[in-house]
């Protein structure tokens, strides 16, 4: 059932996860993920064809709030933990490249 969790697939999951990983980390994670997923495959023993997936343990319903202005964070409070700021903005490296 489980796909082969090899180095390349693990590297790809790392990219999807936005985690920069060393080669050693990728190899160790590949081994661990394969081991854990082999264990998770135990779930395939169960017939769940007519079972509704359960995302929440209790009935969840929409909670609507009145549309009134309340207190929210000031720009300074919101930016207080920013690794880098520029005025009232979070500062990041250039997102869009120079080339077309």
């Amino acid at each position: 059932m489980s796909p082969k969790i090899d180095f390349d697939l693990t590297r790809h999951i790392g990219l999807l996860s936005r985690l920069e990983l060393s080669d050693d980390e990728v190899q160790a994670l590949a081994d661990h993920l394969a081991h854990i997923l082999q264990y998770v495959d135990k779930l395939q023993e169960l017939d769940t064809d007519n079972v509704e997936p359960m995302a929440h343990a209790v009935a969840i319903h929409n909670v609507l709030a009145d549309d009134v202005i309340g207190q929210s964070l000031t720009p300074d409070a919101a930016l207080a933990n920013a690794p880098q700021r520029d005025g009232d903005f979070f500062k990041v490296p250039k997102v869009i490249g120079d080339s077309q």
Binding site: I13, R18, L19, L29, H32, H35, L43, L73
Partner: protein
């Protein structure tokens, strides 16, 4: 009067209210205990000595003026370091949040303070609440006060150790797969995982949002009832928090339940369970029978625990949990991007994806990376149905089992852990072995049910043994009453770690 730090939270609150001691005296007694003993335990990431004394002083002043005092007035309490506070740091024991100062305070903490509690400090934990031993803390492990060569359990290991070692009158933890109950059992204290939706999660750093609950960790059942009553209740800031009135848990506590029916899930009493724990729970059944309760055998087929020829445990619940919880974690932890708050790499990077990836690669520890990866995989295109959806279906089967079992009884009686506290390094090489430390606790999170871990005795080696009572949703009052019946009648040894008297 006995030592202030030996009093339960409830007794201490009464002593403060009656003027037998003051909030400042009580707070100072705990600060002194932390100064003398926490070096050996490392329960705290940060303490707030000055602020705590100030809080205590204002309570003493209020009392002197004759003002009404809250139910926790002057009671020094520790809180897990994944609860946001505007004072001090909120680190989740992660390098990612090493310097994070939250701009708001968690509802549960605000309610404790409104009830007069004095916040002593923030306690150590497995990074982002991912772990069962507190060995995954980026700040170093917490030690079990009963045997400092052993883990306190996790992820709320610092809170459990603080309560057991008399470094706080009570504490608050969080439980996603057993993170309150398992360390409570390892450290010989009481721990409640409330019904999902009973306590607001506002200000609790999210791990598995459909599983996480905040709950009390205390020296006895009455204290758990007291704290649960304070922190429970609806909150417009958590849309999953149920706005249902909170019973006065203490009012009914001393009233035994007539004709109590206790269900014993046969799947939990297999060869997977340590013999001494099985014997302690059998003894507890005898205690309950002597109180007029009946023990009925019930079945939780999808929470079954198998043992293979090599002694390896396996369980559908653990398998489903490690898909559901990691899927939710992979989404929740996407917020740590090195842009808005938290760790950012100091390296020069060329683009935003490199900034995210390097900051996260540097900021997260191994177990957090592993769970993010596992969850990302389970949610990824092509594997979603086979893993995530399948796990959600099995989750329903697990919940249906509980619903059926709980028609034949009022509460379930179960082990908390397969063994007493294990040694450092015993399970760190094999993540799966660590996951299986939660084999008895995970089902209650998947099903959303309240579960109360209480001490059931000591092993021959002098380590605490716990047991848990699990009930239908919003049955906390029944759990407290049933637990208090046992606590009163069981005649357990004193659950005070020997190191405390040796050191003082």
């Amino acid at each position: 009067m006995s030592q202030l730090t030996d009093l339960t939270a409830r007794r201490l609150a009464v002593a403060v209210a009656d003027g037998q001691t003051s909030a400042v005296e009580a707070t100072q007694a705990y600060l002194d205990a932390i100064a003398s003993r926490d070096q050996a335990i490392s329960a705290y990431n940060e303490t707030f000595a000055e602020r705590a004394i100030q809080q205590a002083r204002s309570i003493d002043e209020a009392r002197a003026k004759g003002a009404a005092l809250g139910p926790l007035a002057g009671v020094p309490i520790a809180i897990k370091d994944n609860l946001a506070t505007t004072f001090g740091r909120t680190t989740c024991s992660s390098k990612m949040l090493a310097d994070f100062r939250a701009p708001y305070t968690a509802t549960a903490v605000a309610k404790l303070e409104a009830a007069g509690a004095v916040i002593l400090g923030k306690t150590n934990m497995d990074e982002f609440a991912m772990g069962s031993s507190t060995e995954n803390s980026a700040l170093g492990p917490t030690r079990n006060p009963w045997d400092t060569g052993r883990v306190p359990g996790g992820s709320s290991g610092g809170s459990a150790a603080a309560v057991a070692a008399r470094l706080a009158a009570a504490a608050i933890g969080s439980d996603t797969g057993g993170s309150i109950r398992q360390p409570a059992a390892f450290c010989g204290v009481v721990g409640l995982k409330p019904t999902y939706g009973r306590v607001s999660r506002y200000g609790l750093v999210a791990y598995g949002s459909s599983l996480d609950q905040i709950g009390p960790m205390t020296r006895d059942v009455a204290d758990a009832a007291l704290l649960a009553g304070v922190i429970a209740g609806g909150d417009p800031r958590d849309s999953t928090c149920v706005d249902q009135s909170v019973p006065d848990y203490l009012a009914s506590l001393e009233t035994p339940i007539d004709g109590l029916r206790i269900g014993r899930p046969s799947e939990f009493f297999s060869e997977a369970l340590d013999g001494e724990i099985a014997a302690a729970i059998e003894q507890a059944c005898q205690v309950y029978r002597s109180l007029g309760a009946t023990i009925v055998d019930v079945s939780l087929p999808h929470s079954r625990i198998d043992v293979d020829a090599k002694g390896q445990l396996s369980s559908y619940a653990v398998a489903a949990y490690y898909v559901v919880a990691t899927a939710e974690a992979s989404s929740n932890l996407a917020r740590y991007d090195g842009v808005h708050y938290g760790h950012r790499t100091e390296d020069k990077v060329d683009d935003i994806v490199a900034l995210y990836s390097r900051s996260r690669g540097e900021g997260f520890g191994d177990e957090v990376k592993r769970r993010i990866m596992l969850g990302t995989f389970a949610l990824s295109s092509g594997y979603y149905d086979a893993y995530y959806n399948k796990a959600l279906k099995v989750r329903r089967l697990i919940k249906n089992d509980f619903d059926t079992a709980l028609t034949a009884c009022d509460v379930l009686l179960a082990p908390v852990t397969p063994t007493p506290a294990f040694e450092f390094g015993e399970k760190t090489d094999d993540p799966l072995q660590m996951y299986l430390a939660d084999v008895y606790t995970i089902s209650a999170n998947l099903a959303g049910l309240p579960a109360l871990a209480i001490p059931a005795g000591l092993s021959a080696a002098g380590l605490p043994i716990g047991m848990q009572l699990i009930g239908p949703v919003f049955s906390e009052e029944t759990l407290f009453r049933a637990a208090a019946m046992f606590e009163q009648a069981a005649n357990l040894p004193d659950m005070k770690p020997p190191m405390i008297d040796e050191s003082s």
